[in-house]
Symmetry: C2
Subunit: 437 residues, 2 copies
């Protein structure tokens, strides 16, 4: 391990922090040198440009990215949860490498924090980046995002149950700090999980309005993890199927229905405190300000669904396909009336609705996915479901309630995972620091 | 086969044609009824809206799509070749079903033309679409693009060598009309082709600035093909790695290098006539105004590449990674000087350059792809290479020249296909009509 990682992050403001945090382990001391020559974000760009063949200030385009499109990395909560849902997702699950120790885990989280705090601001993973360093070593940054703005990139880190304890025991001395409810999800009726697209010691949710930016983030974070953690599985997604702010139109999933009409919105702080953020009074205390992420890869039997008559599709969902209104009447945002028979007893909207679940709500943040097609010529497509909740029991209760969902005939849950999402890092600290206090 | 398909497309203007073309086979006569009630594109939208539960004119959002972002489907050449490269790709290869006949192929091409001419204008596949038809039958349109604009969608159709003749013989009575040069590409040094991602009787290239729009197009065209053709393989792509107009910045591929600097541009009509469009004097005459499409799925050994030192990366490509300038000097658009030793004898830019290949040029239109990762935790990623040329020999000659390309150590060609791209359809006709004259 590179010693530079240990005393990482000491600055106060995000910009200083991005500049002052140590370079990722393995990215060498050239990073520090570059930072010494630079000083702040703006001068970094010039510093990088000055080193270029041709003399063009390459870094400038990224440093000058539209500020509205760059989300703060540091804060009370991690970004990427209530952030307005971006157009693209690259989700990745990682496993720690054999024979790694507590310091490896801590420095990995520090190095990831450092790189994420830079990339979310439209910067490269280090000051010397793709082309500003010593030409006789591999570049720090892989370069495919050079010239692209931050593109709304958020990077959200999670800690899986197996990180705290697995068949090898308490590898990192954190077993006693595992949140009691952080454990592999129970089997649900109809589960058809592929271990190749399930679970993982760690996860990273990278969302951006440009897929190249999201892919660049996961690729470079994977590279930074070299020798410490390894990509277990990953999935790209598009066309956000939930909205998290009231000015976002409700998008449609691959069944052609609006999805996310009744989602928890970013400005509903009461609902967020009630249903999404772990409270200071919750256990364990290091999770305060955090959340729990559930990912479910839900394959849709597209071709079968497409042969269902429209009235039956409406009945299954409990909403009108056109405007998304509940079948009990009104417009998209009308409260469904479950008293009469307009909405089927096993319609999706009824079974999933808070009023039918003791008020349980979750914040959904899913994306559509298409992974080509299978040997029968059927699209390998569906919903990459992501939800954030204060306690995993919220998801478990809702998912159990959906066991009689009429939609189940047309979907298969093929991937699953759960991760603790620590609070946001303070400038000068790193994501997950509270776990090691 | 539905008789309505036979006397398809008789109107003169694109709009009339979209309205007057027959509904896709299998999508029933309800389409025609809807058209009779409507009349033009604008009134169609109202017609659809009027049928909705809730009474909201749903079709309107798509019909009012920004005209600048909707490309004409009909024309001298098919769209999607010189069209400014969009952000997203869904490419699909199809095989005809057993026991289909010439009429099946013709009506399929007619039905695809009809649906493509609508979807590229931001309309649904038929007048009744996803929610405007009889609720007691499956909807014509799958609905996930409802409310989305045309998003620059282009749909480009191709005819593979196996369509003209395969092990079952001359299934469609067109073997004698096969372009002599339309045959499966020869094996190239280092090929590692997977038949599951190669070849196909037909292909469709759907490009759009919104992936949901491109996916919607392929899904609905697959659905329309039901019983006649079946999806053989498909691939999503993003982050165009070529530019086709001079106002597009040169994007970067997943090696982090600018790609497409020296591409043929849409306004270079002399180069297009010389190198891309089949001339009226070329054989066969039914291909005049068309082109030939080569697709190569090129896996990149990302992690290996990322460990190569910067100077070596530059040497392999023959360009500077930062600004994309040839190593012989100048800026990105400077002509490379191959006289000296600045550019390695086996650098990619040298071997691929027209000056080193008797002036041979092709129009490239590739995209990056990422299909998750493999069991070793390595990204399954690379370049989905697409090129258009007047004659397949152009690609073959260039690809043979690349046999000593230093880049080959870091790539594997894992998929391949070639298709004849007929000229654009005239309003009132359909793509490929000339083949059946």
């Amino acid at each position: 391990m590179d010693e530079l990682s240990k005393d990482a992050v000491t600055a106060d403001s995000p910009e200083e922090s991005a500049a002052a945090a140590s370079p990722p382990t393995g990215l060498s001391r050239r990073g520090l040198l570059g930072l010494a020559l630079g000083g702040g974000v703006a001068s970094l760009a010039v510093g990088v440009g000055a080193g270029l063949t041709g003399g063009v200030a390459l870094g400038r385009a990224r440093a000058e990215a539209d500020a509205e499109n760059a989300y703060e990395f540091f804060g009370a909560h991690q970004a990427g949860i209530t952030t307005p849902v971006q157009e693209h997702l690259h989700f990745a699950a990682f496993d720690m490498m054999p024979r790694t120790d507590r310091d490896d885990l801590i420095t990995l989280l520090q190095d990831w924090t450092y790189a994420a705090s830079r990339m979310t601001q439209g910067l490269e993973v280090s000051a010397t980046g793709a082309v500003g360093g010593d030409a006789e070593v591999p570049p720090d940054d892989t370069g495919e995002a050079l010239g692209l703005p931050a593109s709304g990139l958020t990077i959200t880190f999670g800690l899986g149950p197996s990180l705290f304890q697995n068949e090898d025991g308490d590898r990192y001395g954190i077993a006693s700090r595992r949140p009691e409810s952080l454990e592999r999800l129970p089997a649900f009726l109809g589960d058809d999980l592929d271990p190749q697209t399930s679970h993982g010691d760690l996860c990273i949710q990278a969302c951006a309005d440009d897929p190249q930016v999201a892919v660049h983030a996961i690729r470079n974070l994977s590279r930074i993890a070299f020798g410490r953690a390894r990509l277990r599985w990953s999935q790209l997604g598009f066309g956000k199927t939930s909205r998290t702010t009231s000015d976002q139109a409700t998008p449609r999933n691959l069944f052609g229905f609006k999805d996310g009409t009744a989602n928890i919105l970013a400005d509903d702080t009461a609902a967020l405190d009630e249903s999404v953020w772990v409270a200071a009074s919750d256990e364990p205390s290091w999770m305060a300000g955090g959340s729990y992420l559930v990912a479910r890869k839900i394959a849709m039997l597209i071709e079968t669904w497409d042969r269902v008559r429209l009235s039956e599709q409406d009945t299954i969902i409990g909403r009108d396909k056109g405007v998304g209104a509940p079948l009990s009447g009104g417009d998209e945002f009308a409260a469904p009336d479950f008293g009469g028979s307009a909405i089927d007893a096993n319609a999706h909207v009824r079974l999933a609705h808070p009023s039918q679940n003791d008020g349980i709500r979750i914040l959904r943040r899913g994306f559509n996915y298409v992974n080509g097609n299978n040997d029968l010529g059927r699209l390998d497509a569906g919903l990459f479901f992501l939800s954030y909740q204060r306690d995993p029991q919220q998801f478990i209760a809702l998912q159990r309630r959906l066991s009689t969902d009429r939609m189940n005939e047309y979907i298969r849950h093929v991937g699953s995972g759960i991760w603790a999402i620590p609070a946001g890092a303070k400038p000068g600290s790193y994501v997950g620091a509270g776990l090691f206090d």
